[in-house]
Symmetry: C2
């Protein structure tokens, strides 16, 4: 963790500063000196030695002795008399040595005691000795000491908070038998297939009992048929609520077996944390004080005009009886699933709940379970999305799904990687979701799926696929960004060998991500010059540039592209006619590029992208 | 004063916000509603009705009624049922009307009383009536009301704080007789000449008694001769200190006569506020507790290595006996000169004095004398200069004197006019000072003086000339940025009709500034495309673009320039082949430019710049 600060003071006094840090639950600060970079900007780094919350702050003061030594050296080297300054300096050291208990103090005291009165050179040597300077920095009274008014929190999270490939399924659709509701046991059968594609996280929409009151029918119909399973987001029925499993999926024992099997397959299960309730959720009876009742004894159903959620009602976080009991109950639901072994939560619509609630809940959970990861599904305005990240969310859905042209993608990535949010906002690039059947994919054919997969997998450390994407599924409700026969309202079967699928390509992308640190977060990105408007050419590198990957993606799914790209030779300190060793990570061939300008061609009917690892 | 803020809240609630402001010495806030611009950015403006300090802050809350009305309108227009929402809205209005004492409340109450139960249209009309909305905004309880933790101060200053042309002289050099020390009476004789050049402010280095101990001789010699007058910056001798006038200059009566004469001539006198003392300043005897004495009973003289000021010692603001007596004494010196009629102070080296001192002194003075202007002579690092501006200084010296090439000038002006400091830092562009004989002018000849005058006079609302500049004086101590035979250490005579002078050109520049608001501050600047590296071409405009000035300046003092410039037709909403009416403000001729590209030529032996007022 590198911390920078602008530090200024009046006068000719020399500033010194320490960076102070500690675990959030510790009381003792550790400290290290800050160094000046340039233009009054200071910097220091500390290592976050464990996951969890840390705190840091800054102290600065006038370094009288350091300033005096600087002056003495300057004058000494210019052969200007420093008699007075040496006397003053020796007196300062003597005063400190008397009371200092640090090592070397005795040593310095001895050298001072035997100091010949007139030996300027000797005095100069003692005062400018790094040991003396270190002693004085440690022990001299710090004049005008000031500490930053703010103690800054910073969360260290486990690697998966920043680097993971997600796959989303509806467990109820996993039976491979259209007449039978899928179970956790059916999901276990799918695990090897999912892991083989290279995914790390398997994410389920809510697995709780589904309300029967106002249950939605197929394709979001307001009236449901007797066999319709309803939307899993309408949580709660007489069987139970957020701490209960839909009986059709299995028991808690079945769920534990699934978690074990997932772990054996190298997959982590992520659950949905969706706070809303079906109108028949037990809470409405047990905790009427958590809801905003209308005078006629009803509750307004949820809506986000023009969308209506007749099968859902919301709790009222600020209702008279909701604080703190509702907040604590919700926190305890998260703890409940953590105790079962869940460590990653995808949070539904966090921006419609109080910001202080999330700040408290995530801080509280992480204090005991620092491994907990929270993904914010806040499809809202940018400043609110960024605020949720500041408050503790590990990662967030983004606008990626709606950024298709080269300028749109570039502008968005430049915002994410070079402006303020780069310090605290981890983007999760989903190529599709049960709610988003992107218009681009509805008309792009297979090439479009390859393009979006390559963009997400190379531009972000976190990318996600909702099942069907790898099969190039794009059937939509006409004119809408929604899937036809959406799994949200019915059980679907998937033919995992459907022809034209892009399973092999996704598998390759995930393999390339795994072996190239440059692709394991969204930073270290630079867009490079390219001759065509429909090709993105960019470099991704890790911090020390030991891993540099170049990516070219044609974003037109219909037309062949042949463009000139400009290799970033200067970033390797090379001249324009130098060579670069390149390894085509998709095809596995190595070759040498000579010179700055190179031609690259794609045919979207084959593969609309190239990925190279390069080195000088 | 326009205030903008990012305001966000969780949930679907509708935000509302007020801007609150008051005079700093008032207790009652005035308020006006903020309006949303875009991307969660809100804005409101208030008028600073008098000079002096004001305060503002922001309140925001969830506007329940406003949000409901928005929802009702949205649904109404989409023909969605709003029966429930109308009932709720009417209930809210009724609850408020009962207790509201504002005008129109009775009117609305009457309309509600006569409301037919089933008349949806009527209900809708009442709820969406601007009068109802205004009533509810004013009287409804403001839920989740929050006020910014910070109360922001803002100073309104008189016009001269931002727009003035300064001229600096040493009064002792104004006798026109090398054998006689100049007096205030001699300065009076010069006033018409100075005013005729178009200057507004006449600034003197310190006018106090000059120390005799360690007095400097000519050209900064450490030993002075018996007739050497010494540096006026070595303030104080047996005759008195900072509240005393050097007897050779005249009496307080003479000084008052000068102030009256200056006012009659349309000139304001600015004095130097230099806190340092000569070793024989009375304070060393009267207030030994204000100084940092060495063990041998001496005081270290001032230095700024490698520069030495043997004739100056500094007070110690943090000495045991200095707080608050020294601080108050210094404040009272400013008050003393204000009571004599001085309203503008050029502050010597403020960055070497405590920042809290300036914050307190300027705040204290301005609370009683809001017309007081403080110019910061802080030639130090940018962040410290900007900090002094934030703390209250009206204006500041800058790096302008050392910015000569086109990229240097552009970068610096872009920083001053488009980054954060544009909100609080007013640059004062001095073309020279008694301390700075710019290297550029030492070799540029007359053309260089014209170039620097035109740059300063058109790029900044504040520009300054130290006398001699208009005579193209540039004789330097070889290899140094200092004047030979500097007036700082000796009395000089000036031949105001010296051949080759640029008095006429400066007069014209000041006249153009006076009649063009676009040139009366440094904002409203845009650099425009030009074909040559040695020509700056820029537009200056006032806020409503009723005054638009184009300036082209050739910055090479030796070579003729002929360049193509691109007129900013698009900024007038004009096409590339449109016409622009132009008035050459230097030559007084008017003409029409046809088309975007125009050729401009300068010969530095004639005039290296052009200034046009343009309109479509």
């Amino acid at each position: 963790m590198t911390v920078e600060a602008d530090l200024i003071s009046d006068g000719h006094g020399t500033l010194a500063a320490d960076l102070l840090w500690r675990g959030f639950d510790e009381t003792e600060w550790q400290r290290c000196p800050m160094k000046i970079l340039d233009n009054d900007r200071w910097s220091a780094s500390f290592q976050l030695k464990r996951i969890g919350r840390h705190a840091f702050t800054i102290e600065a003061w006038i370094d009288r002795f350091g300033g005096l030594v600087k002056e003495i050296i300057k004058k000494w080297e210019a052969s200007v008399s420093v008699d007075r300054e040496l006397i003053k300096g020796i007196a300062m050291v003597k005063a400190v040595v008397q009371h200092a208990s640090v090592c070397h103090a005795g040593d310095i005291a001895g050298r001072l005691a035997s100091l010949p009165e007139t030996d300027l050179e000797h005095r100069y040597r003692i005062l400018t000795d790094p040991m003396t300077i270190a002693l004085m920095r440690a022990c001299e009274e710090r004049r005008f000491l000031i500490r930053s008014e703010t103690v800054y929190p910073v969360d260290a999270e486990r690697k998966a908070a920043g680097f993971a490939s997600w796959y989303e399924i509806f467990p109820r659709s996993q039976s491979n038998d259209p007449s039978r509701h899928g179970t956790f046991a059916d999901v276990i059968v799918q695990l090897p297939r999912i892991r083989a594609m290279g995914f790390d996280v398997l994410y389920f929409p809510p697995i709780h009992p589904i309300g029967r009151k106002n249950r939605k029918g197929r394709n979001n119909a307001v009236i449901s048929g007797p066999d319709d399973p309803g939307s899993p987001y309408a949580i709660g029925a007489w069987e139970g609520g957020h701490d209960t499993i839909l009986p059709e999926l299995g028991t808690f024992d079945d769920f534990r077996k699934l978690l074990n099997a997932a772990e054996e397959n190298g997959l982590e299960i992520a659950l949905d944390f969706a706070i809303q309730c079906a109108p028949d959720h037990p809470w409405l009876q047990e905790h009427p004080e958590w809801f905003d009742w209308l005078p006629d004894g009803s509750i307004k159903y949820a809506e986000n005009p023009p969308k209506k959620y007749e099968d859902i009602v919301n709790v009222d976080f600020y209702a008279g009886g909701a604080m703190p009991s509702l907040w604590i109950a919700l926190r305890d639901i998260v703890v409940f699933w953590i105790n079962l072994g869940i460590r990653t939560f995808r949070v539904d619509n966090p921006h419609t709940k109080p910001l202080p609630f999330w700040e408290w809940l995530i801080g509280d959970i992480r204090a005991r379970h620092p491994e907990a990861i929270f993904l914010s599904e806040a499809f809202t305005r940018p400043k609110l999305m960024y605020r949720l990240a500041k408050l503790g969310f590990s990662q967030s859905y983004t606008y990626f799904t709606w950024r298709n042209t080269a300028p749109e993608l570039k502008n968005y990535l430049v915002e994410l990687t070079t402006t303020e949010p780069r310090e605290f906002f981890r983007p999760h690039f989903f190529v599709n979701t049960p709610d988003i059947n992107p218009l681009f994919l509805q008309t792009s054919g297979r090439a479009g799926f390859l393009i979006r997969a390559a963009l997400a997998a190379t531009l972000s450390g976190l990318w996600g696929v909702y099942n069907g994407f790898e099969l190039c599924e794009s059937q939509a409700i006409p004119g809408r960004e929604e899937y036809l026969d959406s799994e949200k309202y019915q059980i679907r079967m998937w033919d995992h060998e459907r022809s034209g699928n892009i399973i092999k390509e996704i598998t390759t992308l995930n393999r390339i991500r795994r072996y190239n640190p440059a692709l394991q977060n969204h930073l270290g990105l630079e867009f490079l010059p390219v001759s065509g408007d429909d090709v993105l050419f960019f470099e991704k590198s890790n911090q020390d540039r030991t891993n540099v990957v170049l990516v070219a993606i044609g974003i037109d799914p219909f037309n062949r592209q042949e463009v000139t790209v400009e290799l970033p030779l200067r970033k390797f300190g090379l001249s324009d006619d130098a060579s670069l060793q390149a390894e085509d990570l998709v095809r596995g061939v190595s070759f040498t590029w000579h010179g700055k300008y190179q031609t690259v061609a794609f045919d979207p009917r084959e593969l609309p992208y190239c990925i190279w690892r390069v080195r000088p």
